[in-house]
């Protein structure tokens, strides 16, 4: 028995098999917004946060921070000080495509979660920050949101209970860094999206200096499930230290790529089977378990490893966004790393020197190796560069760039060495 328990008979809850669930009436007919009604009429705000704490829910946006704890960081309510929620739908982590599908197929679960979080933290409004590329999905969400307002489920005096909260859509315009929480806040304020130095943390001083909480779409979508079925039920799904249902976005060289919903703690090998195995009966070479920022795992490192923070940490990687990229035996890891480095170089906001210059040097060095002009000592130079970048910048993008570079070189050193010139100095200069 794995940590995920009897996953073969798992019934989906984030994306239950109901046709047209994205319509408000279909969602309500299936018991939608009953969790909100219950919370608004019978619960105290603190009790909601306690229940979320009991559920053990961890953020699904990448960092895996316990959500109930995050909510409890909000300072005590003061009159005339508005408090905000930002729902992070900027989904730009390479390899991640779950939030888009959740918003397309079950947007009301997210909206209900937003309102429950709003009640728990006594918030004035939620800004739903959707990346600009999702223009079509923004239109869909706006339609459903206006129906929500018409049905008195958002805006003032929700369901006649006296609780008021607005949900406001914000459209991004194409910048990975806006997914970082403080950058997202700068972007909302109409500035260049340069991340802020923490502390102060968003709960103390967020958008326009007001207390703010930031959560991922999938995280918030878990809130109605926790209220309806209880925190203890949620805590019992999947891995103990990282419970709940998760949307696994599986891409790369598999037969059936796509978004799959299963509990946490699934064996990676089981997920590979579910996705139809590696295409063309090839062998697996590498796996990126949670988006571009997390360290890559070699095929021989995944035996018995399950998808939860604990097990992935032991294996030398991270859960990230659960966007899993499987690569087959023919994959050129140098080309892979070259593209990853290019991504971070392109997306660095340019505020901190180690990140702005470091990502550029990374790209140049790996390009040089990929073009067959690299020297062996370039590999050590790259590792040294990672040391110079990690932990020395305003936000975690520099770390997110250094981790894959360091670990890909370490774990596939042979692939890199074969492409390098053996001597330290260029022979044909």
């Amino acid at each position: 028995m794995t940590k995920a328990g009897d996953w073969q008979s798992y019934k989906r809850v984030l994306l239950p098999p109901v046709k047209d669930l994205h319509h408000l009436d279909v969602y309500r007919a299936g018991g939608g917004y009953e969790a909100l009604r219950a919370v608004l009429s019978d619960w105290k705000p603190d009790e909601v946060t306690e229940e979320v704490k009991r559920s053990g829910l961890r953020g699904r946006g990448g960092a895996g921070f316990p959500t109930g704890l995050k909510w409890s960081f909000m300072p005590p309510v003061k009159p005339d000080v508005p408090r905000y929620l930002c729902c992070n739908a900027d989904e730009s982590e390479p390899g991640t495509f779950k939030d888009r599908q959740l918003m397309e197929y079950n947007p009301h679960l997210m909206f209900e979660g937003i309102l429950i979080a709003g009640y728990a933290m006594s918030l004035k409004a939620c800004y739903l920050y959707v990346r600009g590329e999702f223009a079509n999905w923004i239109t869909l969400l706006q339609d459903e949101l206006s129906k929500l307002y018409d049905a008195k489920l958002a805006g003032s005096n929700i369901l006649g209970t006296g609780f008021s909260m607005d949900i406001i859509m914000h459209k991004g315009a194409g910048a990975y860094i806006c997914g970082e929480e403080t950058s997202l806040m700068e972007s909302l304020e109409g500035k260049r999206a340069y991340p802020r130095i923490k502390p102060p943390f968003p709960a103390q001083s967020g958008i326009w200096g007001y207390p703010t909480t930031i959560n991922n779409v999938e995280t918030l979508a878990c809130a109605p499930l926790i209220i309806n079925r209880g925190g203890d039920w949620f805590a019992g799904v999947g891995a103990k230290k990282h419970p709940g249902p998760v949307l696994y976005g599986i891409s790369g060289h598999v037969n059936r790529p796509g978004v799959y919903e299963y509990p946490t703690g699934m064996l990676i090998t089981d997920l590979l089977d579910i996705a139809g195995g590696i295409r063309g009966n090839k062998k697996l070479k590498a796996l990126v378990p949670g988006g571009a920022s997390v360290p890559v795992l070699r095929a021989d490192m995944i035996d018995g490893v399950t998808m939860d923070v604990e097990s992935l940490h032991e294996a030398g990687s991270m859960m990230g966004t659960a966007g899993m990229l499987f690569l087959d035996e023919d994959t050129d890891m140098v080309a892979f790393l070259r593209r990853v480095a290019r991504f971070y170089h392109h997306e660095s906001c340019g505020q901190c020197t180690p990140c702005r210059e470091g990502t550029g040097w990374m790209e140049n060095l790996i390009t040089r190796i990929d073009d067959g002009e690299g020297n062996l000592r370039d590999l050590d130079l790259l590792l040294d560069l990672c040391d110079q970048m990690e932990g020395r910048t305003v936000c975690a993008l520099a770390d997110a760039a250094a981790w894959p570079v360091r670990n890909t070189i370490k774990r596939f050193r042979g692939d890199f060495e074969r492409r390098c010139r053996p001597s330290a100095w260029a022979v044909n200069a």
């Binding site: 989906r12 098999p17 046709k19 047209d20 669930l21 994205h22 508005p82 989904e91 730009s92 390479p94 390899g95 991640t96 495509f97 888009r100 599908q101 397309e104 600009g132 590329e133 079509n136 607005d166 406001i168 914000h170 459209k171 991004g172 315009a173 194409g174 910048a175 909302l188 304020e189 109409g190 500035k191 260049r192 976005g249 891409s251 790369g252 060289h253 037969n255 059936r256 790529p257 796509g258 978004v259 799959y260 139809g276 295409r279 990126v288 571009a292 966007g323 990229l325 050129d332 080309a335 892979f336 070259r338 593209r339 991504f343 550029g360 140049n364 390009t367 040089r368 990929d370 200069a429």
Partner: protein, 224 residues
């Protein structure tokens, strides 16, 4: 020795070039002004609305030359420098004139190994234009994009900041380009979930304009 430094110094657009639009063209209609006022009310300060208003301006004018950024700044009573700063931060705001259709082909890492660069090369050949450039007829701009959040349907591209096209093959690209040349609107495509195909026999949205199933990704020939 220095030829491995391939990345050119970022060229900033000239901040005061000849205007593309005349004074008469540079006005918002009353409806647009009402829309802008609505955006402004959604934020504690007018600054927050700047991204929405830039989107609105880009839809109206096609791109955002300095005089349009000035117009946005005047409309929101913000410093021009702030609007300029925001407009130049994001890749989806067009700072120079683009083709009628902008094709953003994703080549980020999932797409890279599932034919993203093959798609890009095929389009370069077909349209006779290099990535980053516009065809002489002014109809197509071809760009290389970072992950667009549809990695399970690689290779894929986005057309003019709007609809996505998934699981691209040469035949599909031919049909798409033909449709664009004929001026037909591209549909919004819903992608099925593999579990839905097993449990519900296909897509869950009955009102979807068009549906795309998940497919085995092709073998990539190029990776850069």
């Amino acid at each position: 020795m220095a030829d491995f430094i391939r990345n050119p110094v970022v060229a900033l657009p000239d901040s005061n070039p000849e205007a593309h639009f005349s004074e008469e063209e540079l006005v918002f209609t009353p409806e647009e002004k009402a829309k802008i006022a609505e955006y402004v009310t959604q934020y504690p300060t007018p600054d927050g609305a700047v991204m929405w208003v830039l989107w609105l301006a880009q839809e109206k004018f096609g791109f955002l030359p300095p005089e349009v950024m000035r117009l946005v700044a005047t409309e929101l009573s913000l410093p021009y420098a702030q609007v300029y700063g925001v407009a130049t931060f994001y890749t989806q705001y067009y700072k120079e004139k683009k083709g009628t259709y902008v094709l953003d082909v994703c080549t980020c890492f999932s797409c890279q190994f599932c034919g993203g660069y093959d798609t890009l090369a095929y389009l370069e050949e077909k349209l006779g234009v290099m990535r980053g450039h516009t065809t002489p007829c002014g109809r197509f701009t071809l760009r290389e994009a970072e992950c667009l959040g549809a990695c399970g349907s690689a290779p894929m591209m986005q057309v003019s900041n709007g609809p996505y096209a998934y699981n691209l093959t040469p035949e599909k690209i031919d049909a798409l380009v033909d449709a664009m040349e004929a001026g037909q609107p591209l549909p919004f495509i819903s992608v099925t979930l593999p579990q839905d195909e097993d449990e519900m026999g296909g897509n869950r949205r009955t009102d979807a304009e068009a549906v795309e199933r998940y497919a085995v990704p092709p073998v990539a020939k190029r990776t850069q």
